[in-house]
Structure formats: C-alpha cells, structure tokens
C-alpha cells in the first residue's frame, strides 16, 4: 500500500511539477505569480496539514455543493485519493524548483539550434530540452522521491492501511509496540535503500553521451 500510494502519486506530482516549472519560466507575469504562489503555499504548509485540508475540505465542499444545488454530489475522497492529491501537490511544489533549475541549465544555444532546424517549440522541448533536463534534474528528483516515500507514512493518520498503520494495528493486537515500529522502520529503510540504487542506475542512463562539464 505504501509503495502503491507513492507510485500513484509520482505521475501526478511530476505533472504538477512540470506545469509549475513552465509557469514560473513563463513570459506572462500572472502565470509566474501563480507558479510562485503554488510553491510558496505547498512548501510552507506542513504535509500533514495539507492532507487534512484536502481530506476534510473535500468532504465539506461536497456537502456545501450538495445543499446549494440540491444534487446528490458526493465528493468524499477516500483516504487513498486524498493522500495522492496532497502528496502530489507537495511533491509538485518541491520538484518544480528542481525542474526549473534544470530548465535554466539547458544551454540557450541548444534551444536556438533546435528552433533554427525548424523544430516546433513542442518538438524541441521533447527532443532537445527534456532529455537534458532529465539528466540534470534526476539527482534532485531522486531526493524528492525519497521524501515522498517517507511522507506516505502520514496517510496512516487519516486511517489508510499503509505500512505504519498496519504496524499500529499489529501493535494493538500484540502489545509489542517496539518490535513492530522497528520492523516498519526497517522496511522503510529497505525501500529507500532500493530507491537510492535505482536512482543511481537511472542517473547513469540519463547521463549517457554526456562527457562531463567542459
């Protein structure tokens, strides 16, 4: 469940991050402002509060909408999707800074060269900018992933059966809290260790064909 939650969150989080990074790099002031406001809010809020805001906020909003429109609207988010929403918003806020730095790290000349070849902005982004961004962003994104993995533990507070919650249940049954929480810690450690290895591997793949700084 912990892994499922983290993996489900990742694509949404990356989408938020990319959107926010491009917004902050935009020529339009209102888009930049929007991107800045987004990162300020979600980097400033405790992750636990974000989760509670979304979890209870959705319930209250749906009730208000239902009474206002008289329609049977039921927006009650399950703890899982509230977790995905909250964690991807937080992940997006942090990762957008990483992507923005990577975007600025791509040489202007490369972009100009791609454009002068007649590539459309979209194609240039996909073929020239994105692969280089990936190389530069991976170490930062790897750190974001590790935080995400650990932040999934917060969802246990709104009663999703994640790893930490299961330890709690097991502890209630057996009255041996120390062992179960220790085992939970070891499992988290295992996941972060495996992730670190995978990230190192991915960095190697993303960095192929790069000869190092000139």
């Amino acid at each position: 469940m912990t892994i499922g939650l983290a993996l489900t969150t990742l694509p949404f989080g990356l989408a938020f991050a990319l959107a926010a990074a491009l917004a902050k790099d935009s020529n339009r002031a209102w888009l930049r402002g929007l991107g800045e406001a987004y990162t300020t809010i979600f980097r400033g809020l405790p992750e636990l509060l974000t989760l509670l805001l979304i979890y209870y906020g959705a319930q209250i909003l749906s009730r208000k909408l239902a009474t206002a429109t008289g329609l049977p609207i039921d927006l009650n988010l399950s703890p899982f999707w509230a977790g995905v929403a909250a964690l991807s918003l937080v992940f997006g806020a942090y990762a957008s800074e990483v992507l923005l730095a990577a975007l600025h790290g791509v040489e202007r000349g490369q972009i100009e060269a791609a454009r002068s070849f007649g590539m459309s902005p979209r194609l240039a982004f996909r073929r020239v900018i994105a692969p280089q961004m990936l190389r530069m962003a991976l170490p930062g994104l790897g750190n974001n992933w590790l935080s995400l993995l650990k932040d999934t533990s917060l969802v246990s507070v709104v009663a999703l059966n994640d790893l930490l919650r299961m330890s709690w249940v097991a502890e209630q049954r057996t009255r041996r809290p120390f062992e179960f929480y220790a085992i939970a810690c070891v499992l988290y450690l295992l996941m972060t260790a495996l992730s670190t290895l995978a990230i190192a591997r991915a960095e190697k793949v993303a960095g192929r064909g790069w000869k190092g700084p000139e």
């Binding site: 809020l45 405790p46 636990l48 509060l49 650990k150 533990s153 930490l164 810690c185």
Partner: protein
C-alpha cells in the same frame, strides 16, 4: 465571512499551540546542534569506524519517516516501562512533548550532521593546511578556521532544515501534543468550521515565509564576502 466567534473561543488556545510549535521546532534544532557539530567533525576527520558509525546513524534517521521514529519512541517506550521506571526515566517518556522533542532532535541532528559534514568538506584544503602549518592544534584549528568557514557554507541548508522542522513539528499533534495543528483540529472538531484549519495554514505559511526571508537577508549579510554566492 470570517467567523470571529470561532477565533474568540479558540484563538487563545491556538496561539498557545503556536508557541508549542515554535518551542518544538526551535528547541529541537538548537539541541540538535550539540550532537550535529561534533558528529560532523567525526564524520569528516574521524577514523573509519567512527565515521562509519556516524554514517549509520544519519542513514537510519534520514531513511525512515519521522512519524515512524516518533511512534517508535512514544509507543515503543511503553514496552520498556519497567526498565525505564526503575531507571527513574519513565515520567519523561510518558510525556508526549518530551518524546516529540527527543525524536525531532535526533532526526534533525542526523540531517544537520550531513549538512555540516558537507560544509566542512567544502572548506578549502589550503586553509586547513595553513592552520596546521601555523602549528595550530587540531581542536583550535577546528574552532578558529574550519567551523567558521563551514558555518558560512552551511547557513543556507541549515535554514532549510529549520523550516523543515517548523513543518515537521505538526507531527507532534498525532501523539497528543497540543501544538498549532492539534489546537486547530480541536477547534474544527468542536465547531465543524473549516476556518480553523485555514487559519492554522496561514500561520504556518507566514512563519515559514518569515524564516525564509530572514534567512535570505542573513545569508546575504554574512556571506557578502563570497564572490559567487547565490
């Protein structure tokens, strides 16, 4: 729009909660300095076993969720109640505030150790060699040359760590510490008014922004001699 009644009833309590939040965050970061500075020196200059043991410590605490550490300490200590009682320490571990402070301190100390170790490695070797050449004993060199130079490098990540702890302190609410989040939760449960959470959110954002700006100003001032500083 704003429900003044709610804040008249719960405002003072939320302010007290905010004080607890600050105590937890600032307290743990300050206490952690006592661990992290020597640990960082050990991590860089210590012998293989010393540096390895310190790495194991930072890896353990950085690789697991803080909430799990907090549960391990708060609920886990109950299992050792007899032993702790006989050592006269049980009243401490029964107290959620103390457990939170201890868990936060150990956690942030692990992150700080790596921050400071990174900063110490960033001190130009020539500076350290010069200190040795001037016949400074290692401890004096650490105090006069290495640590002041490393402090400048570590300033920015240290500020980030402070911000992380302000946010992390909200976890204490889960083990019944009445911090800002817990008092907001209390107000919400009594009144079902969502403004309680929104108010807490605003206070957190304002706090984090204040620290961030303060730190930027501090960094600009203290690191103004560095030619290339961001």
């Amino acid at each position: 729009m704003i429900n003044w009644d709610l804040f008249e009833r719960f405002g003072p309590r939320m302010l007290e909660g905010f004080a607890i939040t600050l105590e937890l965050a600032l307290g743990s970061v300050a206490l952690a300095l006592l661990i992290s500075v020597p640990a960082a020196l050990g991590r860089v200059f210590g012998s293989k076993p010393v540096s390895g043991a310190l790495f194991a410590y930072t890896y353990l605490f950085r690789g697991t969720p803080l909430l799990a550490q907090l549960f391990l300490l708060y609920y886990g200590s109950a299992q050792f109640q007899p032993a702790l009682s006989s050592a006269g320490l049980w009243w401490l571990f029964r107290d959620p505030f103390f457990c939170s402070l201890l868990a936060f301190t150990l956690n942030t100390a692990a992150y700080q150790t790596e921050i400071f170790a990174g900063a110490i490695r960033g001190v130009p070797v020539g500076q350290i060699e010069a200190a040795r050449a001037a016949a400074m004993p290692p401890m004096l060199a650490a105090r006069r040359i290495i640590l002041p130079l490393a402090a400048g490098l570590a300033l920015r990540p240290f500020g980030n760590e402070l911000i992380m702890m302000v946010k992390a302190s909200a976890l204490a609410s889960v083990v019944t510490v009445y911090d800002l989040l817990a008092t907001a939760k209390l107000a919400f449960q009594r009144t079902y008014d969502f403004q309680a959470y929104l108010a807490a959110a605003l206070v957190y954002i304002a706090t984090v922004e204040t620290i961030r700006r303060l730190w930027n100003a501090l960094d600009k001032r203290l690191n103004r001699h560095r030619a290339v500083c961001q």
